[in-house]
């Protein structure tokens, strides 16, 4: 796989998998206003997916489209971080996951706006505006639910405990990252860790939530080496029509 292609899949699959998970909420959120807001987030992410995977398909040059990449790859070809494929569970975990992701996306997309690859810089600039709003909303909701009641605090703490070990995967580094860094296409993810950590720590502190001491990090999503069991079920649902009726257009 070309490193640039793989890099773009990582961006596109993150947006796709989180967008899909978020869209699962449609019609069942705790309040109408939150339902509408979640759908906006999901729509932003699906839009970003089209841009990232569209460019990925172009870079690959094998005649595939963004839809082919989304609907006709299997688990081992996906490159999203594991945290995003973990099921929604409840509103608390959904919001916590969104926040932990947004806190990374904002500095990440900010840096990508300076990419030597103009196409990437343009996608990043568009996505950044969306991510800034997502972060504002998710951070405030995390604080509200952490601070709200004893019950909500417990739920948010347990969401954080489940998700925290998945956050380290953002900052892992491999040949793809090194190649992108050398070509001035993207910064090394680890360089964004201080900013991510400062956002996360101050928000979680405001939310009266405690980060575990463990530095253990699950991995295998962004390299595609080993996803969770959840991704296969998600793809089985998402890809059912394209898989069942090969060649049909919709």
């Amino acid at each position: 796989m070309k490193p640039l292609f793989e890099f773009l899949l990582r961006q596109g699959d993150n947006a796709l998998v989180l967008g899909h998970r978020t869209s699962e909420w449609c019609g069942t959120a705790p309040a109408l206003e939150e339902d509408i807001a979640l759908a906006n987030t999901a729509l932003d992410l699906i839009g970003q997916t089209q841009l990232w995977l569209g460019y990925a398909a172009e870079v690959e040059g094998a005649g595939r489209s963004a839809d082919d990449l989304a609907y006709l790859r299997d688990v081992y070809d996906f490159r999203n971080i594991l945290m995003l494929e973990v099921p929604n569970e409840d509103f608390g975990r959904t919001v916590m996951r969104q926040f932990l992701f947004d806190a990374f996306q904002v500095p990440w997309l900010t840096a990508l706006c300076e990419s030597a690859d103009e196409h990437i810089a343009a996608i990043a600039a568009k996505s950044l505006k969306e991510a800034l709003y997502h972060l504002e909303r998710s951070a405030e909701t995390v604080v509200a639910l952490g601070d709200g009641t004893d019950d909500s605090n417990k739920r948010m703490q347990s969401a954080l405990d489940v998700l925290w070990p998945y956050t380290g995967e953002h900052f892992l580094q491999d040949d793809v990252d090194n190649t992108m860094f050398k070509a001035k296409i993207a910064p090394l993810p680890v360089s964004l860790k201080p900013e991510w950590e400062s956002t996360v720590r101050s928000t979680l502190n405001d939310a009266n939530l405690k980060i575990t001491d463990s530095t253990f990090a699950h991995s295998g999503g962004r390299t595609g080496f080993r996803h969770t069991e959840h991704l296969g079920h998600m793809l089985a649902t998402m890809q059912v029509l394209q898989r069942s009726y090969p060649g049909a257009t919709w």
């Binding site: 069942t28 109408l32 509408i36 509103f91 509200a144 009641t149 029509l241 060649g247």
Partner: protein, 331 residues
């Protein structure tokens, strides 16, 4: 329609001469085409009826999210996924606008939710039918939204100001919904594979009569209609709208190469409209009284969402109160 008023009050419409001076004044305002606003005088029955109608309409929007929400995670392309999600999101928005309109009449949104969950308020019968294939997303958009639009466009002129304004906004936003559905049908029925054509025909077969039922029973059986029309909270009779729907839909089905499942359907040169078979009104009454294919699932899903979300609503409110207190303490 979205508010199928099936229960009749059994009372006939009161004439102007029989009304109290306040009621007569009110009715004359309506006759002149004036809008009634929240703080204006209104007869108790007008208020009660409106709460029921707007409430049913709002409930239909949010229960209506479920059958289409059923396919968001399985939409066949990224674009279709975004289109469908945006459409179902609009339905949440429309529910929200309508609940707010009803709230101006002195009922809260939470109270209306509770009445829905307890089965004390209804929603449109159509949403108790299952969506089984992707073609159903086409059929629902084309037929169900098509039928809804037919009812909603005239409601923009309804006598109650907040309701009329909500309908203006809703109609503006809905304009893409039916086209979205019909576009799915074109792709499948006209340009699709044999499988897709079969799916499209199957969807039409299942949704045709339920769509006709959306307009409610024949006006001959509904004394209630007359009063609602005098109050301009209902603008056309059920039969008028149903006929208009049939007349507009038949050529659309023909364009798709699909067959409407009605052997009696034919053009009547004398009346210049289509003759068609009535839906099975026994089935309609079964669905309305709780025995539709999906009543239990739909209401169950709404109740579950409400119960599961209680801790969130409560915690967010508690946080806002704490925040306000902390701000006050800082002086």
């Amino acid at each position: 329609m979205y508010a199928q008023q099936v229960k009749s009050t059994g009372k006939k419409v009161v004439s102007l001469e029989e009304m109290s001076p306040a009621d007569r004044d009110f009715q004359e305002r309506i006759n002149r085409g004036e809008k009634i606003e929240p703080k204006d005088y209104m007869p108790a029955a007008y208020r009660t009826n409106l709460i029921r109608q707007i409430g049913q309409h709002a409930h239909s929007e949010i229960v209506g999210q479920l059958p289409e929400g059923n396919w968001i995670t399985r939409a066949p392309t990224l674009e279709r996924k975004a289109n469908l999600l945006a459409k179902v999101q609009d339905e949440a928005g429309h529910g929200l606008y309508l609940y707010c309109a009803a709230e101006t009449l002195g009922v809260t949104r939470d109270e209306m939710f509770e009445m829905l969950h307890e089965g004390k308020m209804k929603y449109s019968s159509i949403f108790n039918y299952p969506t089984l294939t992707w073609a159903d997303m086409g059929a629902v958009g084309w037929l169900v939204d098509g039928a809804a639009i037919m009812n909603q466009v005239p409601l923009q002129r309804t006598s109650y100001g907040p309701y009329a304004r909500a309908m203006v906004r809703i109609c503006k936003e809905e304009s893409f919904h039916q086209r979205q559905g019909y576009h799915i049908m074109i792709k499948m029925a006209k340009e699709g594979t044999e499988d897709q054509k079969r799916m499209a025909q199957d969807a039409l077969n299942r949704f045709w009569y339920p769509a006709l039922m959306m307009f409610g029973p024949s006006d001959n059986d509904s004394v209630h209609s007359a009063q609602s029309m005098a109050w301009k909270i209902k603008m056309n009779t059920n039969d008028e709208l149903r006929q208009k729907f049939v007349d507009e839909t038949v050529p659309q089905a023909a364009y798709l190469g699909l067959t409407i499942p009605d052997e009696n359907l034919q053009w009547n040169a004398e009346t210049e409209q289509y003759d068609y078979s009535e839906p099975d009104w026994n089935e309609f009454h079964d669905v309305i009284s709780g025995n539709g294919p999906c009543n239990t699932e739909r209401l169950g899903a709404r109740r579950k969402a409400w119960d599961d979300g209680a801790w969130v609503r409560e915690a967010m409110m508690a946080h806002a109160e704490k925040k306000a207190q902390r701000k006050a303490a800082l002086g």
